[in-house]
Symmetry: D2
Subunit: 252 residues, 4 copies
Amino acid sequence: VEKSNIGEIDPAIKIKEMKTELPDADFLVCFGGDGTILHAAKDASSFGVPIVGVNMGSVGFMAELEQGELLQLTRLISGEYSLENRMLLDVRVIREGRVIFRSTALNDAVITKGAVARVIDLQVYGDKILISNVFGDGVILATPTGSTAYSLSAGGPIVEPTAENIIMTPISAHTLQAKAMVLDKNRLIDIVVPKQSRKTAYLSVDGGKAFKLFSGDTVEVSRSRRCLCLVKLSDKSFYEMINHKLERRSRA
Amino acid sequence: VEKSNIGEIDPAIKIKEMKTELPDADFLVCFGGDGTILHAAKDASSFGVPIVGVNMGSVGFMAELEQGELLQLTRLISGEYSLENRMLLDVRVIREGRVIFRSTALNDAVITKGAVARVIDLQVYGDKILISNVFGDGVILATPTGSTAYSLSAGGPIVEPTAENIIMTPISAHTLQAKAMVLDKNRLIDIVVPKQSRKTAYLSVDGGKAFKLFSGDTVEVSRSRRCLCLVKLSDKSFYEMINHKLERRSRA
Amino acid sequence: VEKSNIGEIDPAIKIKEMKTELPDADFLVCFGGDGTILHAAKDASSFGVPIVGVNMGSVGFMAELEQGELLQLTRLISGEYSLENRMLLDVRVIREGRVIFRSTALNDAVITKGAVARVIDLQVYGDKILISNVFGDGVILATPTGSTAYSLSAGGPIVEPTAENIIMTPISAHTLQAKAMVLDKNRLIDIVVPKQSRKTAYLSVDGGKAFKLFSGDTVEVSRSRRCLCLVKLSDKSFYEMINHKLERRSRA
Amino acid sequence: VEKSNIGEIDPAIKIKEMKTELPDADFLVCFGGDGTILHAAKDASSFGVPIVGVNMGSVGFMAELEQGELLQLTRLISGEYSLENRMLLDVRVIREGRVIFRSTALNDAVITKGAVARVIDLQVYGDKILISNVFGDGVILATPTGSTAYSLSAGGPIVEPTAENIIMTPISAHTLQAKAMVLDKNRLIDIVVPKQSRKTAYLSVDGGKAFKLFSGDTVEVSRSRRCLCLVKLSDKSFYEMINHKLERRSRA
């Protein structure tokens, strides 16, 4: 069990490294905003440990429980819960034939222009066939989980988690027909920064630290064999949750 | 082989009823616009006969060949083709517990308000759980094939055919968060015209004749066990075709 | 002063016809939803009488006060109010050279296909120059006041009331570049139902009774010389009001 | 007369500094893409010299003529042209009470997050009243001329040049109701980088070099007293041009 923002701790409680505890854990209960839960979720997925998120942030698409609902954690013991698998994306950067960066996305892999550049030109391929030339601010490759995050802000559709798709959403594209596209889960996506491009691009996985891309680089995105296991405690449906969160989001 | 718009016909050619011919046919070659191909496609799907569409209309999302490409039909004989399955939707109207209308959609089932009404209120359920209250002009339930038809005009996303999703797209919804939603292919969708509604609604399957709905009626939409088998002759990818068609559509 | 939904009335109060009272009235206080206020507003505008709307409905873009804020009406006597002019649109239908229908719009004039038709083709002209061929469900011509009503649902922008523009918003247009267009307030708009069209279209002004249009008919829309005078009692800005209402609208 | 990309020049032609020539010029004929024409246009506007743009780029919203239409320049001599004024925006950055940056926008002033940041929080005021909290990638303040540039890519509406509005378009906003807003031309817009923000933001005027903003900075945007004078040679309407350009843009 991980805790954050702890004021004072009973010395009887021994705090151990999460990586030491995880292999034998039944569940990981994570208190935090979407970022914290996202981060912990990936660690948990390495060990196949189901995770329960408790929302301490403002929106909390990732969280199963709100702060006032902690009593529901007793359901973990009584067995009144179900498990839900969420798709993950493997993200790799290939430069001159070698993999130079590797990460896993629960929400999205975002490739954007730098703050100073006016526009970037990216080629997006599906199984080596050209899907689209994206000429604009960039492109988002999202999981269904990530479809309600940045992809939604950029105009992408909501995709329910069990649907298992890869969502390709252009960001402020110049061509009006460059619309969001919902792809087959088995597609291998390549995003290529064109060779003749003088511009640098940036890759960010799940909103993390930006990785600098150069012309000629390829970002490979495909469904991961691993997936994230979420504990469902409440009877709230995905739709109920999404409508509730969107409502809160519209007030934010 | 079906033909439409025939000027003059060699009397040696015997024209038979399509239903007589279809059971023993290897392929159905259909000349026409999207509407004609759509119609023939459903007949073909009853007998599991693959169909080749030749575009005689202006846009032609359904067609494999353009008028100038008829020579490619010889590939049917040489075996240089592949087959692609397209998902179909079963559509049923239930009134007072009885099925009173039944149809199959290749593109979409559209439920709208009448021309005179200002707005309609519809409840959309997935596996009996409320997805959304659509308060607006109506709602579209589309297959991936239909995602590039009316659903796209109403703001829905493009979904590639092999992705196998059901797409729910509200039409001019009053609530800003009523966005297009991409659903699991196994979802059973119910669209309910509320009991207290004094308004009539209309159901149209694949743009066909409108069926009048009354308050209390439920439209059930689910993936059909049958699917449509399209012949792929060219090496054009779905993306290439979609980009080309959207370009033509933006000029229309 | 007009009242609606009155339970029981003191016989000492004499209720007169609104048209008898209006010429000598200082203000018209109207209790109701957007529809009621809209209707009364047009009567008031004929006599140049400023109107105060009290919202009895669910959303209430037209209302200045909510039900719980009636005490603020005393400001009418103390003079603590300002007046705000809202643009109106003159709407005329021309058939074979003759004006056969005439109305005034505070929100919008909407031209749509019938419930049964699949699509309609309309030509929109500005000062006799073609603006756009709208191929879809129809087109909305809105005032800034109406920009937050149906036009917003169909994807149009929010235009602040003092901006004085005519907004042209296509409804579910097939061509992706058929976007909402914000026009000069002095533009004379003609919407033409093409001569060769076999379809009927419908005109509805401010959501009122549909007027049937035939092929060859022209709907003329231009800024009215009259305008509607709204009483502003609160210090709420347009932006504050719009954000608040949109928030409620997203919860509706 | 300015030329760019000149291969070889007759030595008899004396090339002078544009600033020397402009005060006495009748017209400025500018060959180039949108960027070049934009740049020259601002120089011309300082001296009230009308400008004719000849498109050498791929899209060319700013250009009056295409490369093949140079003969139409003779109309400048025969007087067969009209003049069209385009609104400009004054852009100022205020830090600790002092103006530290000043520029003029023909298209837009864009305030965005850095490439590395995930999101930025900006407050947008109109005449010192809060219009909107934009929580997302940034915000665009555009003229009608700029409404068909970046603002359109970010989802903003097309505003015709004579309409004279200021358009506020959020970029990938998290709140779904943060929609594009068309404002009165006389509005004074303030965009504030919140004091408590640890993030830097960037201002770019007409796609030019990014100016770094710190927390507490205010970007002031208002209608310029100057305007840009464009020469209209052809009878092409704005609508015709916009539809043609959008079509090309959809193919780009």
